[in-house]
């Protein structure tokens, strides 16, 4: 959907993006991650053609990104805003028209969305009369009204209560199912794990990690396992030292819990062969790092 190639963006005294390249596959939910000030917003603005890169290019569906693609992109900025004194219906029509929709189409689609979100009564209300969460909903509608192929959401859940966040999340998933590609920029890693197929992690203006979530998580697995067991009666304690693994954590109790990291070159079977004579294993699972851990690890080691 989006092919970002060697993007460089420089401001007077700092570099916002330094040779960033990655591909956003079509039909996926793509997580654009990074700490504050990493350059995410700069990149999003370049994709939206709000600013132009100093070097590099972006291809949209195989074509060089140009103003004709504006109508196919929907953008929900992190900093939300609507005209306070304007009526909601009128405002949405205006924003949709700017995206190239006809007035008639805009009206129809607004009606559709208002019914869907059960906010029909808001049409003639002014933005200033709505609560912040309500305004966010209106803004979300404004973002997706023109049925864009690419939807860029910058922290779409901030300001929503859990109920409304769920509603919006369901809508995002539905849009994705209908074929829209979604770029999702956030700091909430648990939602990344839940929603995203692919991610790109930007830190200090550079791309430091990119790939499918599954792949990245596999890559970051470090042979750590958690074993829940009960010792066999003939053993009073577990043989603490083994050349097979390092013990990371060991809780002894009625049912003991052991967390180990395998030494290089050792696989789980070797360890099990070693352990099984001593214990009755109730449960064993691999500890996979969370996206949060990967994020923190990558970003802090990058300093």
């Amino acid at each position: 959907m989006l092919d970002i190639r060697h993007i460089v963006k420089q401001y007077a005294n700092h570099t916002a993006l330094n040779d960033v390249s990655f591909i956003v596959p079509k039909g996926q939910i793509f997580g654009l991650l990074g700490p504050n000030g990493a350059g995410k917003t700069s990149l999003i603005r370049i994709i939206n053609q709000i600013t132009a890169p100093d070097a590099g290019e972006i291809y949209f569906d195989g074509e060089r990104l140009s103003p004709k693609h504006i109508g196919r992109i929907g953008y929900l900025p992190e900093e939300r805003g609507l005209y306070k004194k304007m009526e909601i219906g009128e405002q949405l029509i205006y924003l949709a028209q700017l995206k190239g929709l006809s007035k008639q189409d805009a009206k129809q689609r607004i009606k559709y969305w208002f019914e869907k979100l059960q906010i029909e009564s808001w049409w003639n209300k002014k933005v200033e009369d709505l609560s912040k969460g309500m305004q966010q909903k209106v803004q979300f509608v404004a973002t997706v009204l023109h049925e864009p192929d690419l939807i860029i959401l910058d922290e779409p859940f901030s300001g929503f209560d859990p109920v409304n966040a769920q509603i919006i999340q369901d809508e995002i998933l539905e849009l994705n199912k209908k074929g829209a590609t979604i770029i999702y920029s956030t700091h909430r890693m648990e939602s990344v794990e839940m929603l995203c197929d692919h991610i790109a992690l930007i830190n200090k203006s550079k791309l430091i990690l990119e790939g499918s979530v599954k792949q990245i998580k596999n890559q970051y697995k470090n042979q750590t396992y958690k074993i829940q067991y009960v010792l066999k009666p003939e053993y009073t304690s577990l043989l603490e030292h083994s050349s097979l693994y390092e013990i990371i954590q060991h809780e002894v109790g009625e049912e003991s819990k052991l967390t180990i990291q395998l030494n290089p070159g050792i696989n789980l079977n070797d360890v099990l062969l070693h352990l099984i004579p001593m214990m009755e294993i109730h449960q064993i699972f691999e500890i996979v790092p969370t996206m949060n851990e990967i994020f923190i690890d990558k970003v802090t080691s990058n300093y």
């Binding site: 401001y11 007077a12 603005r45």
Partner: protein, 438 residues
């Protein structure tokens, strides 16, 4: 291109539909009409209602007899003691006064006039006039001059000021009317440039602090948004002016024909003027001739120039205001920038009441009317005095070049400024923004 029209539409409609727009559109002409009617009414009233009663205590036994009653003043000769008379005047209250003519009046040429309240100026000048005639006659007699002969001497000279037009004809011209119109135009354009320029700035600050700007410029170019706003608000201004002109002319003719009996009023003033050929009455005859003098003003030319220079000046200054609006986060912060930007405008405005109006074709006025930053005011001040068409054309062309330049500069600052949040902008910063590539 289609999108800029959408933006213009929104900017225009959202303002025209506001209650404040309707209010100012109707109240401003009403306010001016109110002043106009009030002035008419008061002038009329001052002729009618001055039923002054003046007691005369004549110590010369000679002057008092010469005083003549008219419908403004009734003279009553008093034989009472001074103290008693004073009390009478005091008790009688308004519009009652006491005139004490001293014995040595003809030598000192001085007289005392006592009123219970503030002495009425009309009564005073009427008495002064009558006494001057008495004094004149006394002095003629003293010098053995026959007053009748003197009366036949007429030394009055009337200057008929005419202006040579391009076609070589002489045209009626009245400098005072031109001055009045020039001043009015100066105030009007100064206020409106400020008013609408500030509206552009406020609109941009609103969009920026609302953060809607990011959504909008993901759909349109920053330049389109800025120009759409400038043009939209400019059209609001023009709409307002046109409505004002229509309403004012409508209301003035309505007010003149119904509230005030114009013929009677003019007849009265003329009669008054004819009654005394004294110089003080000149302003009254001027009022009477105002109508005919106004006819000599070239209104179509004035209006055309006003609209052209308002538009040009508005485009020039609103672009600057737009740049300021994009650079700041709130209006208080904007003040440090608006001051230097509007300084040339203020200068032209202040000068328009001095140098420009007194010497409209002098070198200062001519130069100022060519410099784009000052020409909207300076040229409009000069136009009522008659300016060659080539000068107007040149000035306007320079103004257009000026606003193209300021718009270009402003757009470069604007596109960076609207995306800069929470950054305190300085002039140095603005110059840096100007230099940014896209």
């Amino acid at each position: 291109m289609n999108k800029i029209i959408l933006i213009i539409q929104r900017e225009y409609l959202s303002r025209v539909k506001k209650k404040t727009f309707l209010l100012t559109t109707f109240l401003v002409p009403l306010f001016f009409i109110g002043i106009y009617v009030g002035a008419f009414y008061l002038t009329k009233k001052s002729f009618e209602d001055n039923n002054a009663i003046v007691y005369v205590l004549d110590n010369t036994n000679q002057v008092g007899k010469e005083l003549v009653n008219n419908k403004n003043i009734t003279f009553t000769h008093s034989a009472d003691e001074l103290g008693v008379q004073l009390k009478k005047v005091k008790d009688a209250g308004d519009n009652t006064s006491l005139l004490i003519i001293p014995q040595d009046f003809f030598e000192t040429q001085k007289i005392e006039f006592l009123s219970s309240g503030k002495p009425n100026i009309n009564t005073q000048s009427e008495i002064e006039k009558q006494l001057e005639t008495v004094m004149l006659n006394y002095q003629y007699a003293k010098l053995n001059i026959d007053p009748d002969k003197i009366k036949n001497i007429d030394s009055s000279v009337k200057i008929s000021a005419k202006e040579i037009t391009d076609s070589g004809e002489a045209k009626e011209s009245d400098t005072r009317i031109a001055m009045g119109i020039a001043m009015a135009l100066s105030v009007l354009i100064y206020l409106s440039l400020f008013l609408y320029g500030a509206q552009v700035m406020r609109g941009i600050i609103e969009e920026k602090s609302n953060r809607i700007v990011e959504v909008v410029i993901s759909s349109v170019k920053p330049f389109q948004l800025m120009m759409g706003k400038i043009i939209g608000i400019g059209l609001v201004g023009i709409t307002q002016f046109i409505l004002w002109i229509i309403l004012s002319f409508g209301l003035i003719s309505l007010a003149t024909s119904t509230l005030i009996d114009k013929d009677e009023f003019i007849a009265q003033t003329e009669q008054q003027a004819a009654q005394n050929a004294n110089p003080e009455n000149e302003d009254m005859s001027m009022v009477a001739s105002l109508g005919s003098a106004l006819d000599s003003v070239n209104f179509p030319e004035l209006l055309t120039c006003f609209f052209l220079f308002f538009l040009g000046g508005y485009m020039l200054y609103s672009a600057l205001f737009a740049a300021v609006g994009s650079a700041v986060d709130n209006e208080t912060e904007a003040n440090q920038f608006t001051m230097p930007i509007t300084a040339p405008l203020l200068l032209a405005y202040v000068l328009s009441f001095g140098v420009l109006i007194n010497d409209p074709h002098g070198s200062i006025a001519t130069w100022l009317s060519f410099i784009p930053l000052t020409s909207p005011i300076a040229m409009l001040v000069r136009v009522p005095f008659g300016v060659p068409v080539w000068q107007i054309a040149l000035s306007f062309a320079l103004l257009v070049a000026g606003f193209i330049f300021t718009t270009w500069v402003a757009a470069r600052i604007y596109r960076v400024g609207i995306l800069m949040y929470g950054k305190k902008a300085s002039f140095k910063e603005l110059i840096k923004w100007f230099g940014y590539k896209n």
